[in-house]
């Protein structure tokens, strides 16, 4: 499999083409093709992973294949594949989640009038995402980077009759595009200074110091802007919560597990560049930290189950970005993997709940655990995992993240605070959704467990949420860090003290949620009243959307309207004025002709009747005739102008 990586992305592309052109009228068949292609890709990814892990040799596997698409002397653009451990991990993550989501969607999207189209879009997304992870150069990753953006747009706005959905799709596309401007700028600097986009060549040149100083920092930050947009980091995070308008399985696949992790993947890929530029790396770390904290704080008070999860995703992505900024390559990618599984599970669980009660509002839920046992169980497992409870996946990866901040006490404190908030809001969600008395009896009565096609993926992902992290247990001899590493393989030291502290933090977060939302010994309402300004600030997401609307969006619309008036009024006005003046001048000339020149001629008695009848024809008032007059006038002007200019030109020639 190692030499045929390109097959994996092409499988879902094939499914997309077949569905669009041949099977879109047959819903079951379309879904079947999409799922089977992804399943084959999943098996191939596992085979690839096994081969990568069992590879013998001094260095990790690194297989590159490419062909040119543009070729000028000294400049090439290529498409190709690069297989290394990072790619292999991403292949597993993407195909696993994609497969689970596609199976789950059989139940969730059942009866939707655009069922086949949904699977076509999912296949297109899977293709683009796999293309993104196997790319061997920056030009190619940029292509797939934009394509995942397109499919994200299409899927967010899948139920396009809803204004909020089409708004959210548009917002996602444009906001990430803003980040991509930075990415493009980074690529332009790369093209200008290094003359290549190939990963290997670029990193080699960066290490050799072919680019340095301000340009290097600018290039690194430019590339990072792309990650900020795609991974919804502050200040471009605003699109992700709105993206929850899409079908919930889409949120699980694209807006939790894979596409939003692409930014993290990109930064991980470019580790060499960020190591070469400490300023850029510090920027990365700060942005990650700010996002992690800000998003977690907003998640504390939201009432929409998907939005809480969306802010949680932002926060966890911030974690990964922060770790990468602090050179925690293994930590960042490890958390990317574990997070993909438990966050996909959380979203799919939320989808199962929404499917049952037809509302996103956790204030209208409650007590659902008795009716939806599998959903509740798996959701709680995922919540424990994300909170970092021993020995679930999240525990191991989150610990590595926090450990990567060991030289930066401030980062570590904030990271622990975020861990506390995470445990709290996740269990606030669990208690409000699954426990206590039903707050909306009618919805509760209607609720039922979801069909097998939906619960099976939940169980599968729950197993991964528990076990996937075990590959990274510090005491393991051939664990995650001995395969996926930057530079040289290093062994992660187990930091027992840190493990105890972070576990205590997580448990206390859960305990607080338990007291507030299960025992109700602390009143949530009273807290809200007591910290009214903070509560309002958080509830309104720091008013960032409102600020953007007032400072950026409205001024752009205003400028657009003003320029349009300017164009129609001034620029075109000048053109029309010119025409009017010409017509007016020709009328004057005509008047002179008739009354003065002709008058004199008449006075001399030399004009024949024929001549005046010709003149009368000209004065017909018809536009076409005036046109002729204008034309004639122009030619005369042109001739006069040219003869003068010709004189000048000849003088020039003469001088030479």
């Amino acid at each position: 499999m190692l030499n045929n990586t390109f097959i994996i992305p092409l499988l879902p592309l094939f499914a997309f083409i077949v569905i669009v052109f041949f099977t879109r009228w047959k819903e079951k068949l379309s879904a079947g093709i999409s799922i089977s292609m992804t399943a084959i890709g999943w098996v191939l990814s596992i085979i690839t992973m096994i081969q990568v892990v069992t590879h013998q040799g001094e260095h990790a596997v690194r297989i590159e294949q490419a062909f040119d698409i543009i070729n000028f002397t000294g400049f090439r653009l290529e498409l190709g594949t690069l297989l290394d451990p990072l790619t292999a991990v991403m292949l597993i993550v993407v195909t696993t989640v994609a497969l689970m989501v596609q199976i789950y969607s059989l139940g969730y999207m059942h009866g939707d009038p655009r069922f086949s189209r949904y699977y076509a879009y999912l296949s297109l997304f899977t293709f683009s995402m796999l293309g993104l992870v196997v790319a061997n150069n920056f030009f190619e990753i940029f292509i797939f980077w934009e394509l995942v953006g397109l499919t994200s747009y299409l899927l967010i706005g899948f139920w396009f009759e809803k204004k909020s959905a089409s708004d959210a799709g548009k917002k996602a596309f444009i906001t990430t595009k803003v980040g991509d401007l930075g990415f493009l700028l980074g690529l332009l600097i790369m093209g200008m200074t290094l003359g290549t986009f190939n990963y290997g060549e670029v990193f080699g040149l960066v290490e050799a110091g072919a680019i340095s100083g301000g340009l290097l920092t600018l290039m690194a930050i430019g590339i990072f802007c792309g990650a900020v947009g795609k991974s919804a980091q502050f200040p471009l995070h605003v699109w992700l919560p709105d993206a929850m308008e899409g079908p919930t399985p889409v949120s699980a696949l694209i807006h939790a597990a894979t596409m939003v992790a692409a930014g993290v993947f990109l930064v991980a890929r470019c580790m060499t560049i960020f190591i070469a530029s400490p300023e850029a790396a510090m920027t990365v770390a700060w942005i990650g930290l700010i996002t992690a904290f800000m998003a977690a704080s907003i998640a504390l008070v939201q009432n929409d189950i998907k939005r809480v999860l969306a802010y949680s995703t932002l926060s966890q992505l911030g974690y990964m970005i922060m770790a990468l900024g602090l050179a925690g390559f293994t930590a960042g990618t490890f958390h990317l993997m574990t997070h993909a599984f438990f966050k996909a599970l959380l979203f799919l669980g939320a989808g199962s709940v929404i499917h049952a009660v037809h509302t996103n509002n956790i204030q209208e839920m409650g007590g659902l655990s008795s009716k939806m046992k599998t959903t509740a169980m798996t959701f709680i497992i995922a919540s424990l995992s994300i909170s970092g409870i021993f020995p679930l996946s999240g525990f191991w990866s989150k610990d590595e993240i926090i450990a990567s901040a060991h030289n930066h006490p401030f980062f570590m404190v904030i990271a622990l605070l975020v861990a506390f908030m995470t445990a709290f809001y996740m269990f606030r969600l669990c208690f409000l959704t699954f426990f206590g008395a039903p707050r909306d009896q009618e919805k509760y009565d209607h609720a039922h467990e979801s069909p097998k096609s939906m619960t099976m993926p939940l169980v599968f992902l729950a197993v991964l949420s528990v076990c996937a992290g075990w590959v990274g247990i510090p005491w393991l001899k051939h664990g995650f860090s001995s395969v996926v590493y930057h530079g040289h393989p290093h062994h992660v030291e187990a930091n027992i003290l840190l493990m105890i502290i972070s576990s205590l933090v997580a448990v206390s977060g859960i305990a607080l949620a338990y007291l507030m939302y299960y025992k109700k010994s602390i009143s949530a309402e009273a807290m809200g009243r007591r910290f009214q300004p903070i509560y309002k600030l958080l509830y309104n997401k720091y008013y960032i959307d409102e600020i953007y609307d007032a400072v950026i969006i409205q001024p752009i619309y205003w400028t657009a309207r003003s320029l349009w008036r300017f164009d129609a009024g001034i620029i075109d006005g000048l053109v029309n004025l010119h025409a009017t003046v010409t017509i007016w001048l020709s009328k004057v000339k005509y008047w002179i002709d008739v009354y003065i020149v002709d008058g004199i001629v008449n006075g001399l008695g030399l004009v024949t009747g024929a001549a005046s009848s010709v003149l009368r024809l000209i004065q017909s008032g018809r536009l076409a005739h005036y046109l002729l007059v204008i034309l004639f006038g122009l030619i005369v002007i042109g001739f006069l102008a040219s003869s003068n200019l010709l004189n000048w030109a000849f003088l020039e020639v003469g001088i030479h």
């Binding site: 000028f72 797939f144 009759e161 596309f173 595009k177 752009i556 042109g638």
Partner: protein, 493 residues
Amino acid sequence: MSYSYPLLSYIVFMPLLGLLVILFLNKEKHSTIRWVSVFFSFVTMILTLILLKDYNWTTHEMQFVEMHQWIPALNAQYFMGVDGISVPMLLLTSLLSLIAIVISFNITKRVKEYFVFFLLLECGMLGVFVSLDFLLFYFFWEVMLVPMYFLIGVWGGARREYAAIKFFLYTLFGSIFMLVAILVLYFASEPHTLNMLEMTKLGPSFSHGIQVFTFAFFFIAFAIKVPVWPFHTWLPDAHVEAPTAISIILAAVLLKMGTYGMLRISWPMLPEGIRYFSVPIVILGVIAIIYGALVSMAQKDLKKLVAYSSVSHMGYCMVALGAYTSVKALAGCMFQMISHGLITGAMFLLVGVLYDRAHTREIAAFGGIGKKLPVYTALMVMFSMASLGLPGMSGFISEFMIFIGAFPSYPILVGISILGVVLTAAYILRMVQRVFLGEFDTAKWGGLTEINAREVLAVAPLGLLTLFIGIYPKPLNELMRATLENIVMLMAR
């Protein structure tokens, strides 16, 4: 290099032969007239494909050359030939003409005259791209104007006469400048020549003053055609009033004549001129990109929106042309010319399809069309994405090449112009949302019918080519490579 038979003459005059045949047909036989037009434009396209097959991709030398004495007194020749920048334009012209003819089947007013004018137009356009003699070039350049004037003025919309006159006079105004520039070069050259290749050799020997002056005059003529901001206001009027097929031709071919003229004539011929004016040209390009995108955003009429998007998209070409030292930028310019031809041609075609059914183009009048017309919507969304430069489509390749090529020379200006990418995304997505997404008004638009097979067939080649060039641009790149590298060398003289 010459060829066993005068292929270029066949190509240029094949539509004229069709015109003659139609003249002898009964004007009531609409169907025959249509199919005869299709036949002759199809043959023309086949001939251009033969040209492509026998074209030698490895050299920049003129090929398929035909040279005969024409007006000995002026030393004017019937001189034709093609190289790596004219072959793609010929292919584009013959393909788009065929498509435009197919899409003109719904013309019912004065059918015979319509197709006569159309074939004359096609002849003129093809002639421009093969002429290597100034007089011949100028002749074809002007020949094209007349049928265009009538096609807009007779078969156009409500304000057709205004738009037609505006187009005609504006272009003619530019042509006068071109004529003056040609005359100056003619009299400056010794012996007097109208041969473009000779003139290209002589170019750098002219004084700085002559080069700068003639460059400026040529520029005005070509800039009006492109159109370069601020000479662009004829374009929205002409587009909005012209019938669908003519809008397609205007966008896909006529605008390209401006940039083609720059690449063929003023740029390589007058290197001092381009060196002198390069910065202002890039600035005009950047203004066009940003300004065109913003003005598009404010449009209420679908066709006008696409028209202003052309202004914006052609701005990228000007940025590329200003970065004349970079073969990447020039390749990007050529890619953009072809890509814009395909994409905007298709956009106008599709807008026309909707207009035929809805009899309005007002964006606000629609909503939720995607529910009723899924195939039409899919096509329109695809070309909208192509228009906003989505990777995998030709527009992305061209924009990327232009940015990569121009960035080292003009980092700040290119930095500003990439803002256009976001603005383009904004106005395109806003349009898509307001027309195709949202609630569908069954009472109002329940009677809309899906795009028909003929229309799909007409737009399909454009879609396939857009994708092909976007995914695998190498063939086009190889076709133009030798010529573009040579042009960069000529400008470095």
